[in-house]
């Protein structure tokens, strides 16, 4: 059973939670830039966390399915329709055989994650179905989707079929997920950071500017990084550093003093000093950034950042239990 890509939109790719375990070979984690949003959407349609879905950038996506599926999406302020019916973010909806799902351009934010019951069943490469757009492997033929592509879908589990039956005459589920998880572009563009390993290599003015001054996302931003313009962040000592690990969320500063916020497709190593690191629970906000957006940073302590992440994971586990009760 398949999904037919009638219109692939600006940049749509198959993504799951990313490719872990191959940093030693220089392979980026990749995956959904907001992996939490994909997990939530997967939960809503009865998939495992690790099922592959679609990451749409700027929408204008049209899909048709050749059998009945349950779908859900999370992310920017997109409008999604199944046939004539509006599918709000964070709600499961039923798509009938041969019906179209249409995602239009977002009012705010830039990306959305769509889960389909059964998941997108492209062959895993190095343990993941994510598309590595730089390396041209994984996902669908190692590339972004094009109009006319046909993607295989996994077998539907019994769960979404039961969900579909529960819908009765309605096609949109009433239950939903916390709004902070599903409409991430609505959140304030304050990114909380912890100090990076090279914090002390920066001048005091850089440390002060980082907290509070607005930065603008520039045009040369993509799935690897959001490049930022704003006050210069000068360092004390211009000597180059040896390359070492970087990760999504790392805020590194090249010699021109303009910070680069690394995202999911970032390189595994980097030699620029790392002034700060966006905390994991705020990566969903970073994943919505688009050229022209203003973003600010706010320092928090490491224990606070870890506590926020631990809390979110607990809440997600509870949400999954709640959903399974709802669907049973």
């Amino acid at each position: 059973m398949n999904v037919f890509v009638r219109s692939a939109g600006f940049l749509t790719s198959v993504q799951d939670l990313g490719r872990t375990g191959f940093r030693q070979s220089g392979i980026s984690i990749g995956g959904a830039l907001d992996s939490h949003a994909l997990r939530v959407a997967n939960a809503l349609v009865g998939n495992k966390d690790s099922a592959a879905g679609l990451e749409a950038t700027l929408g204008t996506l049209r899909l048709r399915f050749d059998d009945q599926r349950v779908v859900a999406w999370c992310g920017g302020a997109f409008a999604v329709r199944i046939g004539e019916e509006n599918l709000p973010p964070g709600h499961a909806g039923l798509v009938a055989k041969d019906e179209e799902l249409i995602m239009t351009a977002p009012k705010t934010g830039s990306r959305a994650w769509l889960a389909i019951s059964g998941g997108i069943d492209v062959p895993p490469v190095l343990g993941s179905r994510s598309t590595d757009l730089r390396g041209n492997f994984g996902g669908h033929e190692g590339r972004a989707l094009r109009d006319g592509d046909v993607l295989p879908l996994g077998e539907r589990s019994a769960l979404p079929v039961r969900v579909a039956e529960m819908f009765g005459d309605r096609r949109i589920a009433e239950w939903t997920a916390p709004s902070a998880w599903v409409t991430t572009a609505a959140r304030d563009r304050f990114l909380r950071v912890v100090r990076g390993p090279d914090w002390a290599r920066f001048r005091e003015e850089a440390q002060t500017s980082l907290a509070g001054a607005p930065f603008t996302v520039t045009l040369d931003s993509d799935r690897m990084a959001a490049r930022l313009d704003g006050p210069d962040l000068p360092r004390l000592d211009p000597t180059d550093l040896l390359s070492e690990a970087v990760a999504p969320g790392t805020l590194q500063v090249p010699p021109n003093g303009k910070p680069i916020l690394l995202l999911g497709d970032c390189q595994t190593i980097g030699g620029y000093p790392k002034i700060a690191h966006v905390i994991t629970v705020d990566l969903p906000i970073a994943a919505q950034l688009w050229p022209g957006d203003l973003v600010r940073f706010l320092e928090v302590t490491l224990p606070d950042a870890q506590e926020l992440l631990r809390e979110r994971e607990e809440n997600f586990a509870r949400f999954r239990v709640g959903l399974s009760l709802q669907m049973s």
Partner: protein, 236 residues
């Protein structure tokens, strides 16, 4: 040794302070630490990533929290890392076995557009650059930049050549280059600014293999000069 946070879900272990003074000893220490950390199999740790003098440890905060029980998760993890690494230094200092890999390289003119630049910086004849490049013993400092790209130390110091001012938009796969004091190999076609002096017919990176790279951090490498004929045979 220092341990510093890299965000809320990773730590960087600085195994040695000065890499450049003795890269070989530094890589031995990093490799030994890597093996100790692998053997310790600390619950909640997702993966380890060595590079030059450091090892990054990526972990799952919730997993660490469960394993740490009543303890503060970061402190608990640090303690586990420290005890894994001190157990090693207390034990006998047997050297860690490192694979020795030979990479065939054709230094033919058609594959070496920057050989003359390297030769002129070194003040040597082109043939002498090739002889010295192919007789030195190298080690992989780390793999990265693009998937499968090995950064290697051991380049004879006279062959060190600054990266090109204008990087090339397309460097062919297999190109062997010199960037500053390091030598490296482009595993696939990509942009790049290193000085190209040869090409290997080996496929350094292949997602159908596991591991997908031939070279890993710490590996010992030698280059063997080959003819164009041998290059063509090995390319098939």
């Amino acid at each position: 040794m220092r341990i510093e946070p890299l965000g809320d879900s990773a730590l960087i272990v600085r195994v040695v302070d000065d890499f450049a003074r003795d890269p070989d000893a530094a890589l031995n220490a990093v490799l030994a630490a890597l093996r100790s950390l692998e053997a310790a199999a600390i619950p909640g740790v997702i993966e380890l990533a060595p590079a030059y003098s450091t090892i990054a440890i990526f972990f799952d905060v919730a997993g660490i929290g469960r394993a740490a029980a009543k303890h503060e998760p970061s402190d608990w993890l640090r303690t586990r890392i420290e005890s894994a690494l001190t157990a090693r230094s207390a034990g006998d200092k047997q050297s860690v076995a490192t694979p020795q890999i030979e990479i065939p390289v054709c230094y033919g003119r058609e594959f070496a557009p920057d050989l003359d630049d390297v030769a002129s910086v070194a003040g040597l004849a082109a043939e002498e650059v090739i002889r010295r490049h192919s007789s030195a013993a190298y080690r992989v400092n780390c793999v990265g930049f693009i998937a499968g790209f090995p950064f290697m130390s051991g380049l004879p110091s006279e062959l060190a050549t600054p990266r090109r001012v204008a990087p090339r938009k397309k460097v062919p796969a297999g190109s062997v280059g010199i960037g500053g004091a390091q030598t490296g190999i482009y595993p696939r076609k990509s942009p790049g600014g290193w000085n190209l002096i040869g090409r290997t017919p080996l496929r350094l990176f292949d997602v159908q293999r596991e591991p997908p790279t031939i070279l890993q951090a710490g590996d010992r490498v030698r280059f063997r000069g080959i003819s164009r004929e041998e290059f063509d045979v090995l390319s098939q």
